[in-house]
Symmetry: C2
Subunit: 346 residues, 2 copies
């Protein structure tokens, strides 16, 4: 079974976008904001939004299940206050729940959190619990910078986040550390803010003692870990210089990088330097980079091809794996991370 651990609903039905637009227009007038009931999306519209996109690509590329969450850019926690964020998160998560109910073999839910700049992450516990307990979601996307590029939140290792982590541990669900849109003109969203956030989060984890306090907390850093694998020597050296544990020791049962790296040499490097048990297969399709790479004639985000061709990986994963190298990657973390729950429970 090949599980793609990183997919967003980027082909969402039009009325969801209409709803959000209306909410944002009245962001400071609570009475004028749209009600949940005003959202009109039929099951057929949901099917239509997926059949020609994610489902088609799953079939074509030979992957089985996508861990599916609301559009990352869309979270935009910097817009409005906590109540705005909560209503929007609930609507988005309920949409993901409908997707997973319509296609239980293809999608497993991960929730958006109602984060808001300056508001304690404790305020996200309720929505996490609802999504996991009522909808069977298997994780959440945790935004380390709800301000959208101003980076006003404390590092992920700060006690600011601890009560939320306690709930994650209790529910046994991982978080993908994933920022949203940038409202800072310095940072392009998918080209700078996303990748910077991955790098930033990893460095916070190097310098902190988070996993001493939460030995079973599980964090996934997307986009191949940002800049980290390319600068693996730098980070190994910084850990040493700062008398911190070696990177593989720090990551071991707690940190995974995904394979959203859109060219062969990048995946080769990733799978060469990062412990293979700490890599999760993912494509982020249909996501940040669309269309075909003119150098290969294949979709940029068809990461299964790169993983299948990564030389180090083939050798390392030859024996007990089932279908392919991508399968080997996505299976391994299932045995340790909570991602295993969903596909088996459905």
């Amino acid at each position: 079974m090949i599980i793609d651990c990183h997919g967003h609903y980027t082909t969402e039905p039009k009325d969801l976008l209409r709803w959000r637009k209306e909410q944002v227009e009245h962001v400071k007038e609570p009475a004028k904001q749209p009600s949940k009931a005003s959202l009109k999306v039929s099951d057929d519209e949901i099917r239509e939004s997926l059949e020609g996109a994610q489902l088609k690509l799953q079939r074509e590329r030979g992957t089985d299940v996508t861990i599916f969450s609301p559009r990352a850019m869309g979270m935009s926690h910097h817009i409005g206050d906590y109540n705005v964020s909560l209503a929007w998160s609930q609507v988005c998560n309920e949409m993901i729940h409908r997707v997973c109910t319509l296609y239980p073999d293809n999608f497993v839910g991960v929730c958006q959190l109602p984060q808001s700049p300056g508001v304690s992450p404790d305020s996200c516990i309720g929505e996490l619990e609802r999504c996991v307990k009522e909808f069977g979601f298997v994780g959440c996307n945790l935004n380390p910078d709800p301000s959208g590029g101003h980076w006003t939140a404390p590092p992920l290792t700060d006690r600011w986040w601890y009560k939320f982590y306690e709930k994650m541990v209790e529910l046994d669900v991982p978080a993908m550390v994933h920022v949203s849109a940038s409202c800072n003109p310095a940072f392009h969203g998918t080209g700078a803010h996303y990748i910077n956030a991955d790098t930033t989060a990893f460095m916070q984890l190097i310098m902190g003692d988070l996993f001493k306090d939460f030995p079973t907390l599980k964090l996934i850093i997307p986009h191949g870990g940002g800049a980290v694998p390319f600068h693996w020597g730098r980070y190994r050296g910084l850990a040493l210089n700062n008398k911190r544990p070696p990177l593989d020791e720090m990551m071991k049962d707690n940190v995974w990088f995904d394979t959203c790296v859109y060219h062969q040499p990048g995946i080769d490097l990733l799978t060469k330097v990062v412990p293979i048990d700490n890599i999760l297969f993912a494509s982020e399709m249909v996501g940040a980079v669309r269309g075909k790479d003119p150098q290969t004639g294949q979709d940029f985000d068809d990461t299964k091809r790169y993983v299948d061709h990564a030389p180090g990986l083939s050798a390392a994963s030859a024996a007990p794996r089932s279908r392919s190298d991508a399968s080997a990657l996505s299976c391994r973390p299932r045995s340790s991370a909570s991602f295993e729950r969903a596909p088996t429970s459905r």
Copy 2:
């Protein structure tokens, strides 16, 4: 001749640090700030600070010249106002000038700029001109985020920077795009802020039309270009999706990455995906990561070893190059970038 294009004076004499400490202590009391004349550093102290460090490493590693600038962390443009930044920059640049005068065969100067958050970069023209015309410096370090991790400055492609670029072009000197210390708790300095800035700057250049307006402007993005080479497919795809020129076309005569990447697989990737003419040899010694890599027994920042062993590079640079692969790298840009001036003029 092997030119290391990225070295900072990180072993500066004690009295320089004393001077700065005193300046920062009285940052809001101009009258109490130390005078330039109060700085007491002898030539012997300068020699001593270099002989056991940068000069020893040049000899041991077989590099010839280091393009040398004040400590990057030390610039801290976020401390105090423009006048504080100007006085500190002048003191630092004069110290670099003394280094280059004492060791004209080993060091070539690059200046710190008196940037200050919210202050127009026009205010840096005077110090750039002084350093280039009076001291023979060959470039400057340009901080894309003088706020120290709050990213309040417009993108590098904004007209905000244009008058300064005009002066760079007139003087025919390149800038290394290099941030300083982070005063944002979210960002570790060398582990997050530096690398994020490189990634951020490159994405700004992708989205802007800077080199249409300044066809001869030359920018060096340090630390191997941040996350860019690892995500080369992502950036190629983003350029395509945004109808921007291909990366190699955009970089061609205007953008270089250095080789401050501290492990072999990273240098292998860098030299494989980025056009070889757009890579400058550099080590940033004595810099961000100190000490030996326990996996190799060699210094993390001895990048010449990695470059010498990069497989793609050896083949590509076999014929007309002089001494080694590092030499091949550092020579090529000399023919186009202004870095060629200094070694030949001394």
